[in-house]
């Protein structure tokens, strides 16, 4: 499949948040402020790209030759957990400010459904290495795009008169519903 098609469809058409519902847990927590949204988006992009490429190699060069395809889930999730641990150590040493602002959400990237999904999707779709790399960059960029859009909307929503039971997350889901309608306009783009 054309690399451009993969990129656009992962970024806009099959947007990981609005279309596939992945990565919602940290999404609701981090999309309240703009700067933490950008930081989180970049961290997730790095993690997904690194973890997916490494797991691609792990699958095709270790699991398949040994006939251990059923160990895929365990190996992938352990790989993701170790990779996030490594990234956490690296961020702590190199930029403590970013580490502090991300707080608990950095180790929680392990449980971000999107990371495991992308790693497994690359295998299910049978992508080559280049296609895997493009997909693994496009999906988290879509995630970051949504985070930034939502952060700007939610920052303005805070000052408005939201009904009491909708305050916080429920109104964010209403916003997501409207954005989902908006993004269906991209269907058939490629």
């Amino acid at each position: 499949m054309n690399l451009f098609t993969i990129f656009i469809s992962a970024l806009l058409i099959n947007n990981v948040i609005l279309s596939k519902f992945l990565g919602m847990c940290p999404f609701m927590g981090v999309s309240t402020k703009l700067d933490s949204a950008v930081g989180m988006g970049l961290a997730v992009t790095f993690v997904i790209f690194g973890a997916s490429v490494i797991s691609w190699f792990l699958y095709y060069y270790a699991l398949v030759p040994l006939g251990l395809e059923y160990m895929e889930l365990i190996c992938f999730i352990l790989l993701i957990a170790s990779f996030v641990q490594f990234v956490e150590m690296f961020v702590k040493k190199s930029s403590p400010g970013l580490y502090k602002s991300l707080g608990i959400f950095l180790p929680l990237i392990t449980t971000n459904c999107a990371v495991l999904y992308v790693a497994q999707d690359n295998i299910t779709q049978g992508y080559s290495l280049i296609e895997t790399m493009v997909n693994s960059v496009a999906v988290p960029l879509g995630f970051m795009l949504m985070l930034v859009i939502f952060a700007t909307i939610r920052e303005r929503l805070n000052g408005n008169d939201v009904p009491e039971s909708f305050r916080g997350n429920p109104i964010a889901f209403i916003v997501a519903a409207i954005m989902a309608i908006a993004f269906t306009a991209f269907a058939g783009l490629v």
């Binding site: 499949m1 469809s9 058409i13 279309s19 059923y70 160990m71 365990i74 058939g188």
Partner: protein, 170 residues
């Protein structure tokens, strides 16, 4: 062995992984044959729709650049059947099978799994549209259906990929 030593941690993790691996391989040995059996039965049931009672065999190596062709099957002496996965309106896509007789005419068209918009895209799977496809040959393009543009374009692309393989195989 002290609980905090590296050796203890290594041994614990190693034993745990080994135990889980063994359990999984056991469960896999039990379930994998059943899964494969179900998969083949499902495919065979679909193939029988086109050429009941024929001998089917799967073609493993085929050159498909579009990525839409998911399976190629030969019905001995009758024709070729292609399993295609395309994306129409619904982002998760839909699968359908199309069969070409040896003389190039379309032998059959059937959706396998689809979730297109009811009343719009789903009209591509109604007899009215399918009859139009059954009139075609391997050289023709599937017609587009207004109000079901994305779905019928996807069907057109899928059938183009299938007929390309059909022509190449001839």
């Amino acid at each position: 062995m002290n609980k905090d030593s590296m050796a203890y941690k290594g041994v614990l993790l190693g034993l745990l992984c080994a135990f889980c691996g063994l359990t999984l391989s056991g469960v896999n040995a039990i379930t994998a044959p059943k899964i494969e059996e179900a998969r083949l039965a499902k495919i065979k049931a679909n193939l029988e729709q086109f050429y009941p009672g024929a001998e089917f065999s799967e073609v493993r190596d085929y050159q498909d650049d579009t990525g839409l062709v998911k399976g190629v099957y030969v019905a001995e002496g009758k024709g070729m059947i292609y399993n295609l996965k395309v994306t129409g309106y619904n982002s998760s896509g839909f699968t359908f099978m199309v069969a070409y007789n040896d003389d190039g005419t379309v032998a059959g068209f059937t959706p396998i799994e689809q979730n297109e918009t009811s009343g719009f895209g789903s009209r591509c799977f109604d007899p009215e549209y399918i009859n139009q496809i059954l009139e075609l040959t391997a050289d023709d393009d599937a017609p587009l259906l207004s109000g079901a543009t994305l779905t019928s374009s996807a069907i057109r692309n899928g059938m183009a990929a299938a007929s390309a393989l059909f022509e190449a195989g001839k």
